[in-house]
Amino acid sequence: MNASGDEHPESVESFRRRARAWIRGNLAPLRDGDGDLASAGEADWLRARKLQAKLYEGGFAGICYPREYGGIGLTPAHQRAFNEEVCGYEMPLLLNTPTFTICGPTILDLGTREQKREHLTAAMRGEEVFVQFLSEPASGSDLASVTTRATRDGDVFILRGSKIWSSSAYAADYALCLARTDWDARKHRGLTMFLIRIHQPAVKIHRIRQVNGSSEFCQEFFDDVEVPVSAVVGEINDGWAVATHLLFHERNAVGGGSPYFSGPLPTSRRESAAGDVVGLLRRTGRAGDVAARELVAEFHALGKIHSQLVDRVAAGLRSGQLPPAAGSLIRLFSGETATRRAEIALELAGPDAVMCEPGQGSVRDIGVKFLSRQASSLGGGSTEMARNIISERMLGMPREYAADRDIPFSQVKRGRQNDHQ
């Protein structure tokens, strides 16, 4: 049985052949920079939505999503076959994360039937893009301490507060938004998850300029936003359970293990990155330098081992031999690897990474990447949080002391101390 209820789903090989023929007949070659959130503009988003609509019409949208919500109800093996076949072709990569790999699966897990029918189906058609409204200016790693206020008023909740670090919110339609609905409950108990419409007068969006010059991240301000009760995902005051699902899918997505990721495999992209460094070594005339050759090999090895680790952890999770928290292993490895690889690239590029003739930007990009290298150890949950999760929830070591445990949230010290006095 598969998600659509068919007793005899199409075999992976037959699906692969059909996908190959359709891809060749319908998709253009992949372009440089496709799927790069940092450089995506309005035209890229529009193109991604149109591509998604094309996939939907061709019968290749939402491969692992159930049919009744616009998907085609096949298995991760079918999705993997598609991902292999679509290598080198254009795909709406911008829509993968968070729409299809994080928000979609969370709505699928805990949304109402109506929410799934309306929003998942729209997403499959390229008509809706989702983002997450989780972090706040005063709540980052300590996500459950959010203070965006949702006050019940009859059939609606009124939202007031601010969210931050939402990626590409300006280009999206709906957001999963975590807000506090009960201030007298303990920290994790008074939260509710809402699926809110982004573009409305009471929501102001501000784009944040980053070190690398991009402005994909946004901050939102809610000025008495009206949200119907029907937009609650999961139970009222049980939003933490929804957030837990969401974070699980996020770790999977960030680590490269999501079954809902549709497009060329991250593995192949990790390996083409190694090819770039080999090219760099040749251009800079250091191909005979033993120290430089060892750095290239290390860069390459880390990419390989990342993929091998993803396979191992996926097998452990599938068979239940690893607890769900083990997804954090992949998250930690990807953060640490990106850090080391940025360092190696800087070392290999030498002076060209920090200055060059105007217009010769390709090498200098390595320098800019180095400046924002910690982003890969911050986004999707910091690597410190990953280490906490591995040691506490995977290995069972004692949890960190928390001063906010077992007291009403209204009595918890929060934000910066001076804010309180």
């Binding site: 090999a297 081992i305 906490n388």
Partner: protein
């Protein structure tokens, strides 16, 4: 531990673990060392019955794996050897058995292979150049045609179990090119001298060949040619994969007893395991341990299936596992405090063996250079 084992592989794994825990606890290995012995031949023969010597050998040659993937099965045993720091020529013994079984003239060596598989005879691979390095091709000694046989001259260094071996698989160079021979330990002109080593669980020696006369039937495979070079490369890959699996097993075990220590040991009224500074280090080490096992399994699969990238994945694995294994064990010494640097604590047995493994069959740095060569940088 792998997460994709068949039921038969699980049985092999637990039978090996039970056997080694009963007959080769670290205390017994310490006693062997005190007595000046590298390993116990009776235990080796019993182990042979459990498959220690025959998993990589095809069924038609008298061997057989439990899963159809002999190298994966052998890595399971290697992991258990690593977990117990168990003595015995597991890596080199399997390299020799695989070489004999896969040779074009395997039939000519079936008697010897049979004795190796029952554990009656001990075989090792002699290939390392005395000048340093681990390239078995560079280490080839001279073999001059002499009537219907050859005369071998030269020296092989760092040969595992050299003093206990009954037979050596020797890498040499004839007029035809790279050629391997089997040479019995008692051959005239052959000398073996032990080397002092950090490792308390295994012995290594130097083998000298002073015009050792061998018959033409001692050739394994064909003299020279691409097949001989490919066989030597494959033996090297098998050695490195099994070594990585031993290291991965050792690391897993050291992390287990260190985690136990961290929960048992209290300082300032709380267990070591409650300190975030230590928890975070332990999380890193846990990650490295999983990555080491992942890359070892991938290398083993590539070698078993003779993939084009087998050499590359083997060197990727050793460059990572060799480095991280010693990183982890050293930091676990640190977490044990003063106890970690005492003779009585077992952790130094593991550290010694991992340190020797880090260097033998190529250091992490040497394997990175091999990866760069293979990438055509």
């Amino acid at each position: 531990m792998r997460f994709d084992l068949t039921d038969d592989q699980r049985i092999l794994q637990s039978a090996t673990a039970d056997f080694l825990e009963k007959f080769c606890p670290v205390s017994a290995t310490r006693a062997l060392h005190e007595a000046g012995r590298a390993f116990d031949r009776d235990i080796w023969r019993h182990g042979a019955e459990l498959g220690w010597t025959s998993l990589i050998v095809p069924e038609e040659a008298g061997g057989g794996s439990v899963s159809g993937d002999g190298l994966a099965d052998a890595t399971l045993i290697a992991e258990q050897f690593g977990r117990l720091a168990a003595p015995g020529p597991f890596v080199v013994g399997n390299v020799v058995a695989a070489a004999l079984a896969q040779a074009a003239n395997a039939g000519a060596h079936s008697g010897l292979l049979g004795r190796l598989m029952t554990g009656e005879a001990i075989g090792t691979w002699a290939c390392c150049p005395p000048a340093g390095g681990w390239d078995p091709v560079a280490g080839a000694i001279e073999a001059v045609a002499d009537g219907d046989g050859y005369r071998l001259t030269g020296v092989h260094d760092r040969v595992e179990a050299a003093c206990d071996a009954d037979v050596f698989l020797v890498v040499a160079r004839t007029a035809d090119g790279l050629t391997q021979f089997v040479v019995p330990a008692g051959a005239a002109g052959l000398s073996v001298s032990p080397l002092a080593t950090l490792d308390l669980t295994r012995g290594f020696g130097r083998v000298g060949y002073d015009g050792v006369r061998v018959p033409g039937t001692a050739v394994v495979g064909t003299p020279g040619g691409a097949a001989a070079a490919a066989a030597v490369e494959r033996q090297f890959q098998i050695a490195v994969v099994l070594q990585c699996a031993e290291l991965a097993g050792a690391v897993e075990k050291v992390l287990e007893f260190t985690a136990q220590w961290m929960s048992d040991r209290f300082s300032f009224g709380r267990p070591l395991a409650s300190y975030q500074a230590l928890k975070h280090r332990f999380a890193d080490m846990t990650l490295w341990s999983h990555a080491a096992q992942a890359t070892t399994a991938a290398a083993a699969a590539a070698v078993q299936q003779r993939h084009d990238d087998a050499a590359e994945l083997v060197s990727v694995a050793k460059s990572y596992v060799g480095q991280r294994a010693t990183d982890i064990i050293q930091d676990c010494v640190q977490l044990h405090g003063g106890l970690g640097v005492t003779w009585d604590h077992d952790i130094h047995i593991y550290l010694r063996r991992a340190t020797v493994d880090r260097v033998t069959w190529g250091t992490p740095s040497e394997h990175r250079r091999r990866v760069a060569d293979l990438l055509n940088v």
